[in-house]
Symmetry: C2
Subunit: 213 residues, 2 copies
């Protein structure tokens, strides 16, 4: 199996967590988003939109979209499923994952911040305010969902799920960007718990072959 990833990409980070939780090793290909490698013809062949991660299975099947990849990993390695099968728990896990994947992350990724600066000529301060705005809206909603429906050290109970695979990279990003997280105690507690687990540690940006400061 192969993974096209950038150490600092949070969608790649989600898939790395899922792989680590399932104890799976992959051949790692770094795609340097800062150097624009995602727009090289060779990468566009794998991901027409120029994104990471791209997962390639042992039969050469190439798949994009982190949440689709994690669902597929559950089919390949059904032990310890990351998307539970009990309907209501499953719905809550998917609700949290989609909140992060649709309502927070897409607004703050490299291609969007690049457009703001390059095309709309938005200044640094306004760009940071944009970033913090979507993080605050999204994490407020996440905090409510976890307080209402979650319990235990992970988002939903004693076992990690897709929700945790999405939460950790998002909170790590927010922390790195200096966002104030004090209003989200349950989110931060889940984050801290995850960060103490070996699988989450192995998936961290600093542990990847393409890591640079």
């Amino acid at each position: 199996m192969q993974l096209y990833s950038f150490f600092n990409s949070s969608t790649s980070y989600r898939v790395r967590i899922a792989l680590a939780l399932k104890g799976q090793e992959v051949e790692y290909h770094g795609v340097n988003l800062r150097a624009g490698e995602q727009r090289l013809a060779q990468h566009l062949e794998l991901s027409r939109i120029g994104g990471v991660p791209v997962f390639v299975d042992d039969n050469g099947v190439a798949l994009t979209q982190s949440l689709a990849i994690i669902d597929y990993l559950d089919a390949l390695y059904p032990q310890a499923p990351l998307v539970p099968t009990e309907p209501l728990l499953r719905a809550r896990v998917l609700e949290v994952a989609q909140l992060i994947a649709c309502d927070i992350h897409p607004l703050n990724n490299v291609r969007v911040l690049g457009y703001l600066q390059r095309v709309l000529e938005v200044g640094l301060e306004e760009k940071d305010r944009w970033y913090a705005h979507w993080v605050a809206e999204g994490l407020s909603a996440l905090e409510v969902l976890l307080q209402r429906h979650g319990s235990g050290p992970y988002c939903f109970g004693e076992q990690p799920t897709l929700a945790d695979c999405c939460l950790v990279p998002q909170v790590a990003n927010a922390e790195r960007m200096g966002c104030d997280l004090r209003a989200y105690p349950r989110v931060v507690a889940v984050y801290d718990h995850c960060q103490a687990q070996p699988a989450f540690q192995r998936a961290a940006p600093s542990q990847q072959p393409d890591f640079t400061q």
Copy 2:
């Protein structure tokens, strides 16, 4: 069952298609996004981020996030599943759904266009260019995925799936905004086929109780 929806919201439209395909009726509550009803305390209690759709099942379980809702509908009404179970087909359906739900739609929804105009004071022309930019990037990628992996009148074969529930509202939006769709023949063929089916027609914005010009 109840659905909080806005006739013109494409995430609500996805869920309406899924309900219609499953032959299910719901009590419909219009939430007027143009009038800001999504930010009223009563609605924020259902959706902390102030979004639609919100689905409420017969037990009073309230669920946000259109893709989580559609997955839950598959659990409640398993006949004619919208997310297939065969792993590779399932992966392709989820890949297309996530491409639309994460890489296109979040950049062009009401709250983001509002922020561009209100906070960043972006002009109308630049706002339209922003809109068209993300549509073009996303639909180009969608066209490649459908050409490579899809066949048949729907995205993936003879039966509608979650991929079609996402494609139709996205293409309807792009059309309404005057985006040029000539570069995406397979996307448009699927769209045209879906629009000729009664379930898709019942789910259309113009057929909803809160429709206005």
